[in-house]
């Protein structure tokens, strides 16, 4: 078991290293650095000014050296200008000139500086991850029970009318990408001119102009039903269909097992068979899928957060990519690697406990 854990963590580190190197290489192409200089110091700078800016801000050294600086295996760049003022990677990060020449990369716990948000990467990411954590929590709270209920109801009696109806809903919801469902939901529920809201207003059922808010910015301060429903629903609907399909498949398989038939022949009521005999075995597969679904939901988070302008992890990733914020992008990829591998780890370990036939060697 311990060996298994170590191996997994080792794999995680190697993956993170490879991924960050690729991201680093892509974001440090000369054209990208030029973009960075222009977004940082004036979009209409001349080429000479761009070169000067890159040189002054430590972007002129070779790419591998800078990757080493970011990792913390090489000392950060240092520069002394004509007036004797010392600038450098570590000087800026630690806010003291004494730090010049030290190593200050992620090995030392320095995540770097976000050029887009003008703040420390660790600070930006922790705040944004907190916001996404809340969103994901609500997504799971909505998605998991809905998916399981739909899947179990559909899988109880394979081929029945309930099964067909619920399966259609599940397939439709999982086949609709977030950028479609999000826009549809906004048009339907969050517009004062089209959709349901004008109708509800004319009937006097709601006070405000719209049923739900089509923008989740205010959820940053205070989460309400009105501002959080649509983003949560957008992500949950997509994941819901998939998990429901897996649950249904697993449920129908269990329902054809010999022991279920035995129970029926013994005269156990149908409800009791489902709850007592079928459910635990049928939930093993969905558990794994739900865990594996979390990294997939991160995709949805990017789209949904940008669409509803809710500044979470996905929104930050988008902003960092659009603005070529190198160190923020690198840190985001590390976070993404950790999320993927940790959820996989949980699903593997959890699987062992749910299914006694499996052993981790």
């Amino acid at each position: 078991m311990l060996l298994f854990l170590f191996r997994r963590i080792g794999l995680m580190l190697v993956t993170a290293l490879c991924l960050t190197f690729i991201v680093f290489a892509l974001t440090n192409m000369p054209a990208k650095l030029e973009t960075l200089a222009k977004t940082q110091a004036g979009s209409r700078m001349t080429d000479a000014e761009v070169d000067r800016w890159l040189e002054r801000n430590g972007y002129a050294s070779p790419m591998l050296v800078r990757y080493g600086e970011w990792l913390g295996v090489l000392p950060g760049w240092v520069r002394t200008d004509d007036g004797g003022t010392v600038t450098g990677r570590c000087v800026a990060l630690r806010d003291t000139p004494e730090a010049a020449g030290e190593r200050c990369g992620i090995l030392q716990g320095d995540w770097g500086f976000s050029t887009r948000f003008r703040a420390g990467v660790a600070e930006v990411l922790s705040a944004r991850l907190g916001a996404t954590g809340l969103l994901m929590m609500w997504v799971l709270i909505v998605m998991v029970p809905m998916a399981l209920i739909v899947g179990i109801l559909a899988g109880m009696r394979e081929g029945s009318r309930t099964d067909r109806a619920l399966s259609t809903v599940a397939i439709a919801s999982t086949a609709t990408p977030e950028y479609v469902s999000g826009v549809l939901l906004i048009a339907l529920l969050a517009s004062s001119t089209v959709g349901l809201s004008p109708l509800l207003v004319s009937w006097g059922w709601i006070d405000g102009p719209v049923l739900f808010q089509g923008n989740a910015r205010s959820a940053l301060e205070d989460i309400t039903l009105s501002n959080f429903t649509l983003p949560v629903l957008t992500i949950a609907l997509y994941g819901m269909g998939y998990v429901a399909r897996i649950t249904r498949a697993s449920m129908t398989e269990v329902m054809t097992q010999q022991y279920i038939r035995t129970a029926r022949l013994k005269g156990v009521s149908f409800g009791k068979i489902v709850v007592k005999h079928a459910l635990r075995n049928a939930l093993i597969a969905p558990f794994t899928v739900i865990m594996l679904q979390i990294p997939w939901l991160l995709n949805g988070v990017v789209i949904s957060e940008v669409l509803f302008s809710y500044p979470g992890f996905g929104w930050t990733l988008y902003e960092a990519a659009v603005n070529n914020d190198i160190e923020l992008l690198l840190a985001s990829s590390v976070v993404a690697v950790v999320v993927v591998l940790v959820t996989q780890l949980i699903s593997d370990v959890g699987y062992v406990y749910l299914n006694p036939r499996i052993r981790i060697s």
């Binding site: 054209a31 940082q40 004036g42 001349t46 405000g208 940053l220 940008v306 669409l307 500044p311």
Partner: protein
């Protein structure tokens, strides 16, 4: 403002009297008269007085009510040194505590703010600036002539990357710094600026958004972190991409107490670039006004109870040829492409007719020195013939634009007409992140240009030989000489003579296809006052109020 000292009104620049005569003779519009007269140092009420009008007061219709929180959609970008600002939004967020020497008003006048007044010498080489007495920084220091001089020195420092003020200071800059004897502190409240070349644009330049007046202690690149300024507000928070909050500064006595700072709190909300998100936000009551609406979005906002305000501007799009690239080094090719395009059609298809047709010379009818030329002709067949004569019958031209809808659509309309004339052309649309890397070098592309109050300003900035923003790579000796000459003519009528020729050269040389002048729009709830769209995108929230 009400408290102009008497001498400001007494000494009237001789050219201003000439303007007043022209206005009465119908040669000048009111707006043109006001821009010209106030640029010469005449206070707005005095300028209005010269032509026998009463100055409109901001609070004419209603008395502003104090208090309230205003929520505005606006992009919040990472801050940096004000003189390197390249987006009006950067300046707008800071306008509550950073003030300017003078403000450019919606009606085209210059309003003295931290100056009490100024006079230009008749040759427009010497400017005497009189500092407003009684102004205090919010850290308790007095605002003096030394502070004004310090800011001029900052603006003139060309060694700072991206310092666009250095190009605006013109002949005050020599070797990347202030010229010897360029700034003279006469006494505590008087500064004299001595230029080596006449420059009639100096005062409008210091009204431009990167010219925020900074405290001498400001060194870094973040005016929010250490908000020492003269204005009545202070920043509470500032998060790029998310928003900014500004609140009235209770510990500071503002020099203009009572004539602004009505709101308690202003919240800027950055909702990204997708206008659909702005609409969704407005519908749920999260914003009271937007920063700028374009195209269909204006109508949608109108429909949800946020009427539009319009500003007619000299902002435009320059579909320019770069003369360093083949085949655009050939004047005949450039002129042929111009000939194929009807600017009126571009305005209609590319910008929903929300503007006025322009004439390919980048001088706008609202510029004081605008001279009317003969109307442009459109002749597709002649264009095709000229392209064939140049041996480019099979050549495929390429027109590049940024991915912003109105700019892409404008270029589509230009390209479609060129195609209709029988000339091969393809369109390329680049995302904003890559477009700006090479904006001055593309062979044939479109660039958005904001307005400048004077016609000579834009020509100085964009078409003089060798200047950094000369994206057309235009170089013409006669043009440069005449432009120098025009820069020294304070009298706009006399300058118009020269401008007439400058505009002709622009057209003769086929420098660019400049299809239209944009009107710009902002939508706000009816209870928001003073927040009408400003031609240079100024969001002076110090003057906004809510009823």
């Amino acid at each position: 403002m009400k408290d102009f000292s008497q001498e400001a009104v007494d000494r009237v620049h001789p050219a201003a009297d000439v303007y007043a005569r022209d206005y009465r003779a119908g040669k000048l519009s009111r707006r043109e008269f006001l821009t010209r007269a106030t640029a010469l140092g005449l206070a707005a009420p005095a300028a209005y007085g010269l032509i026998g009008l009463a100055a409109p007061s901001v609070a004419q219709a209603q008395t502003p009510t104090m208090g309230g929180t205003l929520k505005m959609q606006m992009a919040i970008k990472a801050q940096r040194d004000p003189r390197t600002w390249d987006w009006s939004e950067l300046a707008n967020a800071c306008r509550g505590w950073l003030e300017y020497l003078v403000d450019y008003q919606r009606d085209g006048t210059l309003l003295p703010v931290l100056l009490e007044g100024w006079e230009a010498s008749d040759d427009a080489k010497t400017y005497t600036l009189r500092v407003r007495p009684g102004v205090k920084w919010n850290n308790g220091d007095d605002f003096t002539a030394a502070d004004v001089a310090h800011n001029f020195e900052r603006w003139c420092d060309g060694s700072v990357e991206g310092n666009s003020m250095a190009t605006r200071m013109g002949s005050l800059v020599e070797n990347n710094m202030v010229r010897e004897g360029g700034i003279e502190i006469v006494d505590d409240l008087t500064v004299r600026i001595n230029l080596s070349q006449p420059d009639i644009a100096l005062m409008v330049s210091v009204a431009d958004y990167p010219a925020a007046v900074m405290h001498p202690s400001f060194t870094g690149d973040d005016p929010v972190a250490n908000p020492i300024g003269t204005g009545p507000y202070l920043p509470v928070s500032y998060e790029p991409g998310i928003g900014a909050v500004v609140e009235r500064n209770a510990d500071h006595t503002w020099w203009n107490e009572g004539n602004g700072a009505y709101l308690d709190r202003i919240e800027f909300i950055d909702l990204g670039t997708d206008p659909a998100a702005w609409v969704a936000s407005a519908e749920s009551g999260e914003i009271d006004l937007n920063y700028q609406a374009q195209g269909d979005i204006i109508d949608i906002f109108d429909a949800i109870g946020m009427p539009r305000t319009e500003a007619v501007t000299a902002a435009t799009i320059a579909v320019r040829f770069n003369q360093e690239n083949e085949p655009y080094d050939n004047k005949d090719v450039r002129k042929a492409l111009q000939l194929a395009v009807s600017n009126a059609i571009v305005l209609e298809l590319g910008y929903n007719d929300l503007g006025t047709v322009a004439e390919n010379h980048h001088v706008c009818p609202i510029h004081p020195e605008y001279a009317e030329l003969a109307p442009l002709t459109v002749d597709g067949a002649a264009a095709r013939a000229a392209i064939e004569a140049a041996g480019l019958g099979d050549y495929e031209f390429e027109l590049i634009s940024i991915d912003e809808p109105w700019q892409a659509e404008t270029c589509d309309a230009v390209a479609a007409q060129i195609r209709d004339a029988g000339i091969n052309i393809k369109r390329t649309i680049l995302p904003g992140a890559t477009f700006w890397n090479d904006w001055t070098k593309y062979p044939f592309s479109a660039t958005e240009w904001n307005m400048r109050p004077l016609g000579v300003q834009i020509l100085n900035l964009a078409y003089r030989t060798g200047v950094p923003w000369n994206e057309a790579a235009f170089s013409n000796e006669e043009f440069d000489t005449l432009l120098d000459q025009a820069n020294g003519i304070a009298d706009a009528d006399a300058r118009r003579e020269v401008m007439h020729r400058l505009e002709e050269i622009m057209q003769e040389e086929g420098v660019l296809i400049q299809p239209y002048w944009r009107s710009i729009f902002r939508n706000a709830r009816p209870n928001v006052h003073g927040a009408e769209m400003h031609p240079t995108f100024v969001v002076d929230y110090v003057k906004y109020w809510l009823s």
